[in-house]
């Protein structure tokens, strides 16, 4: 065998090199498929064929949180980034990044997406230019606005909770108090989950 392919095969340290190469590409293909299913952009997923060890962080933990486009998107991004930064600071010893943080990020973005959808709905149906003739529609609008206000208040409260958590981590680094980060994040997630139940209750109540 001559030429470039022959050189590559000849330098493959016998059969072992060939088999290692084949196994590497197969693992890369599996990682690429896994990344594609988790919503990672195609160029990055395809690059897993050659560089899959670099992409393993994207396979662990929750799916890559999709950035929402709702009214709180920027504030959510900023709040979460600041919390990650605080938790990753070497001065905040023993505060590891728990998987719950990714879960909380997903929940916040989902809540924000729902708020954006409701805003679009209210913008088209109840934009105030003309009062709805049907009393049932008017009542529905009032209920939706009330539920929207409640959900937005809960999202704001969770974002404030994230700021409080950062302050507690800072206090811990000085005073040595223990900070149950995982429990706090679970509380915040539970608070977001409760938004759905409250909204459902309000919409069902005449």
């Amino acid at each position: 065998m001559s030429g470039l392919p022959g050189e590559i095969v000849a330098a493959g340290v016998g059969g072992l090199g060939l088999w290692v190469g084949v196994a590497y590409v197969i693992v890369g293909a599996v990682v690429a498929v896994g990344l594609g299913r988790r919503g990672v952009p195609s160029p990055t997923a395809i690059s897993a064929l050659g560089c899959w060890p670099l992409l393993l962080p994207l396979l662990s933990g929750a799916a890559v949180p999709a950035r929402s486009s709702g009214p709180f998107a920027a504030r959510i991004e900023r709040g979460l980034a600041e919390l990650r930064e605080t938790m990753a600071d070497p001065a905040a010893e023993d505060v590891a990044l728990p998987a719950d943080l990714e879960g909380l990020a997903l929940d916040l973005h989902r809540a924000d997406e729902r708020l954006a959808m409701v805003d679009r709905l209210l913008g088209t149906v109840g934009d105030g230019r003309e009062a709805p003739g049907d009393p049932a529609v008017a009542e529905g609008l009032i209920a939706l606005r009330r539920a929207r206000a409640g959900a937005a208040a809960e999202v704001v409260a969770v974002l404030d909770g994230i700021v409080q958590l950062r302050l507690q981590i800072g206090l811990r680094s000085l005073a040595g108090n223990s900070v149950p980060v995982r429990e706090r994040l679970r509380d915040l997630r539970a608070r977001l989950a409760a938004v759905d139940e409250i909204a459902a209750l309000e919409l069902c109540t005449p």
Binding site: I8, P41, I46, S47, C51, P53, P90, E93, V95
Partner: protein, 252 residues
Amino acid sequence: MSASTASARPSLLALTTQVLRSPASILEGRDPRDVLATTLGPLLILSVVGAAIFGAVVGSYRGGLQYLYAPLKMPLLLLVPLLVGLPAVRSLYRACEVSVGHARVVLAAVVGIARAALLAATVGPFLWLPYSLDIDYHVAVLMMAGALLLTGGIGVVTMIGLLPGGGRHRWLAHVASLAVLGALWAQSGWMLRPFVVRPSADVTLWRPVESDIVSGLQAAWRSARGDYRGWHAEPGGLLGRRRAAGSPEGSR
């Protein structure tokens, strides 16, 4: 992934500017996993293109097939040590009480490599001119090594700058990581040689695996002192095997 995230993906040109002018802005205030998902592909493209341009310049010293071989191997020289060594680097940082996530380490390293590759491409013309003037082979090798050390050093400094600050043993982690990656880069260079081919030698994609960089350096040290015995490094270790009779030699 939402459309908004896809639209947040920077163009290659914009990313090149960011990598060269303000690499920290790539990560600023964003989740490293999100940045990794959107920018790893483009960063790898920049790394491969930059390294391939530098490889083409290095290959121009010998010309012919080396115009193809060197650009193929130069990206491997930059990227293979990362694939092998980053888990160890992350472990070293964690052992030194620097809390850093896997995604952050990967991003910092890839941005550093992309910057080094782009800078190596820009250094290319400064090598091309002397290479085209038929300079001595050893000078050509030294110039290539100097360019790689310069641009690689900037890449390493960039990588360190993108990792979290603070921590009592941070500098120990930096030094240990540099030692691990440096050894891997040196051995990768040894395995992937030749890059600059001696004018009298045949052009080959790569030479047979023979021992490691340390034994090669020992042989070079002996030769420098006038002792030419044992110049051919003895095969050894898992990958060591005997050189085929009549195979090309004398190139780096």
